[in-house]
């Protein structure tokens, strides 16, 4: 980021962020953290990460640009700076990533004044952890076919059904819930709720992934109750509200705080180092022109993502407001997967050694990371769905559905 294009206030804030992050970097937790926030299952990790997020919020690194009445810090043009600094500082990630990344933009766009004032501050401070209840066993890529029912009884709704792939469901106080109030109307029969998780009608059961981790869950809703004041948008407008959430999930929303984890640029550096450090056939893998070309191709695409996000903010050069942002999740996840595939190739037979094996390179980080890249290419609308969305919304091609 260019120093000279910052205002005096922004420049001062950037200096503050850097110094603050350096001084307040938390000591390492005795048990290593999982690779990403959605894998956290250890309650002591939750406490450690919630404390860290709360501290960053107090310091102004989260909700920097949002109005004070919603718990924000009321600054201008500072969130991007804070997010960049957090990402660069290599500090622990923010645990409440669904709250920050999806609940906040959804509430800002579609919530009532009261909902914003009540729910936003505890999201920022990680006092309330949020999860997302969209997908169902029978409703994945075709999300609008969801069957969980919502029946109005007095001033509340009674919810029955089940949700899957619910990251952080085991810790969450609230769920962003899509439920069907009208079985006869596919898109117009869905309503959006903020559902309390701490009640007898909600049961959370962990799902084991191919990695052996169990960061996400199946959630059973049996006569669960949600007050009508916790509805977002009108009855039957749930699909429209969900689009606001999904746009944010796909990397196009207003950021309120970086979900800090290893940046693609950092992983790229590690990949080059791995190639330099690994010997094959009497020379380093980096000396092998075939591997080098593959590494440089993903390096090129990683750098392109960085300059794509810079260009997406420039109206004369971005080809339309949504064109680049809607590509973010698709390209980010596919490039990340390619990077990991190359790393496994460089490791060769050593890539067989997994987490927990004393001899596993980088404690099994590469095979674990590789398997977890499918989270990116499948969740939040698979890469195939993303290509439909881009073709239809950006290029105007005929709708597949």
């Amino acid at each position: 980021m260019s120093i000279k294009s910052l205002t005096a206030e922004q420049s001062e804030f950037q200096t503050f962020c850097r110094a603050w992050l350096e001084e307040n970097r938390p000591p390492q937790h005795p048990v290593p953290l999982p690779q990403a926030a959605y894998e956290v299952t250890d309650p002591s990790h939750l406490t450690y990460l919630s404390d860290w997020q709360a501290k960053c919020y107090e310091a102004g690194l989260i909700a920097s640009d949002l109005p004070k009445e919603y718990g924000g810090h009321g600054m201008t043009g500072c969130q991007q700076i804070a997010s960049n600094e957090v990402r660069a500082a290599n500090v622990p990630y923010f645990i409440n990533w669904i709250g920050l990344g999806m609940a906040v933009p959804t509430l800002l766009e579609c919530g009532t004044e009261e909902q914003k004032k009540t729910f936003l501050p505890p999201i920022f401070s990680a006092e309330h952890i949020w999860c997302q209840g969209f997908s169902e066993p029978g409703a994945g890529s075709d999300l609008a076919s969801l069957q969980t029912s919502a029946v109005k009884e007095g001033d509340q709704w009674v919810i029955n059904g089940s949700k899957v792939w619910t990251s952080l469901g085991h810790f969450a106080q609230y769920m962003l819930l899509l439920a069907r109030q009208d079985k006869g109307n596919k898109y117009g029969g869905i309503t959006y709720f903020l559902a309390p998780m701490d009640q007898p009608g909600v049961t959370v059961k962990p799902i084991h992934k191919m990695t052996g981790e169990s960061g996400f869950n199946e959630v059973f809703l049996e006569d669960a109750v949600v007050g009508d004041h916790l509805r977002v948008g009108a009855v039957g407008d749930g699909w429209k509200v969900a689009m606001a959430t999904l746009t944010s999930e796909r990397g196009a929303g207003v950021g309120v705080g970086a979900v800090a984890s290893e940046s693609p640029a950092l992983v790229m550096k590690q990949l080059i180092q791995l190639a330099k450090d690994t010997q094959r056939n009497g020379r380093s893998v980096w000396e092998d022109p075939v591997w080098r070309d593959r590494i440089m191709k993903v390096y090129e695409r990683t750098e392109a993502s960085i300059y794509n996000s810079r260009r997406s903010r420039l109206k004369p050069l971005n080809g339309g407001a949504m064109r680049i942002p809607l590509q973010g999740k698709l390209t980010g996840s596919e490039i990340g997967q390619a990077v990991h595939q190359i790393a496994l190739g460089i490791l060769g037979l050593k890539s067989s050694l997994y987490v927990g094996d004393a001899k596993a390179p980088a404690n099994g980080k590469w095979p674990l990371g590789y398997m977890n890249t499918y989270t990116g290419t499948i969740s939040g609308g698979s890469s195939e769905i993303q290509r439909n969305i881009l073709g239809e919304r950006v290029l105007g091609l005929p709708k597949t559905k």
């Binding site: 070309d293 695409r301 300059y307 794509n308 810079r310 881009l390 073709g391 091609l397 005929p398």
Partner: protein, 375 residues
Amino acid sequence: MATPKDFGFNEDINMLKDSYARFLSEQATIEKLRPSLEGTEDPYHGQPRVPFFDRDNWDQTVALGMHAVAIPEDQGGIGMGLVAATALAEEIGRYALATPLTNTLLASFILREASTDAASALLASMAEGLRVGLALYGEDGDLGPTSTDVQVTGDTLHGQSWYVTDAQKCDVLIVSAAGPSGIDLYQVDVNAASVTVMADTIVDLTRDQAHIQFDGTDATALTTGGQGADCLQAAMPALLTLTAADIAGAAEWQLQTTAEYAKVREQFDRPIGFFQAVKHPIVDMMIATDETRSLVYQAAAAFDFDRDDAARCAHLAKSSASDTAEFCANRSTQLHGGIGFTWEADVQIYHKRQMHSQFLFGDGVWQRQQLAALL
């Protein structure tokens, strides 16, 4: 040093880009390009063709001052940098234009790195509208800065230059030649009696190309003491970036044209763009084009604001661009089906231009080799 958040695209440069784009949208339509290809249907049988040169377009380009964008003010130019030149190159590519403006922009950046009076004088002549060509390579097409087959003895040149783009549209050549102290660059009058221009029969219909014989040709030194190779090396990020920008512009045309076709062509009772086997590759064309475009702007900004990082950024940009050229050309023809394979289809014109651009100053594999050496 860092590059500006807007890649240096300030209001002046955005206006420049808009006004050149508007000029081309009126003056360089595909309907105007089409008739220029008349009689060229048979390059396969080996007749070199008279190249298309829209002199009106060039005269107006000079009248608008576009040719002088990257020529320093001291030599009568506008004195803008690579960001401005890149903005123009992208539009040239979008219209598949055969214009001496391309070589004028490339040459401006080479001559800016040569600190002789002769180089300044040539820049001043270019500001008056003189057209230049670049004769940098030998017959084997090796891309290193010392690959020339031309020798210099005293002030005269002997030997051949190859792969000289738009050779039949220029007045003078900048020739790379080997002498006792190494490689230097020389200015030569293309119309001199000792210069023989031999047109090549090439695939690309939008450019011309030639190999050129020098038989004791009088030459003016633009660099001295073997500084020519360094001069080319210093200018190379600009040459790569401008070529990549041309590709980005052409790729955007290929993307939009293919998407439009997929909306109107019907098979199985639906526009073919309905089918994911067609829709998804078109989206992949967009992704490739956007990655290239962002890397091109960053490369231009690095050259103007962060020169130490310019070579890395330029190799990234041309690496991406070369692959994008190949991919978008490939998909544009494939997704047009049978018609895309015919002479009548406009996509074939852009396809061939991209095939040519892909290898100018090195393809993706070459760029990635150079790039890795910097890391």
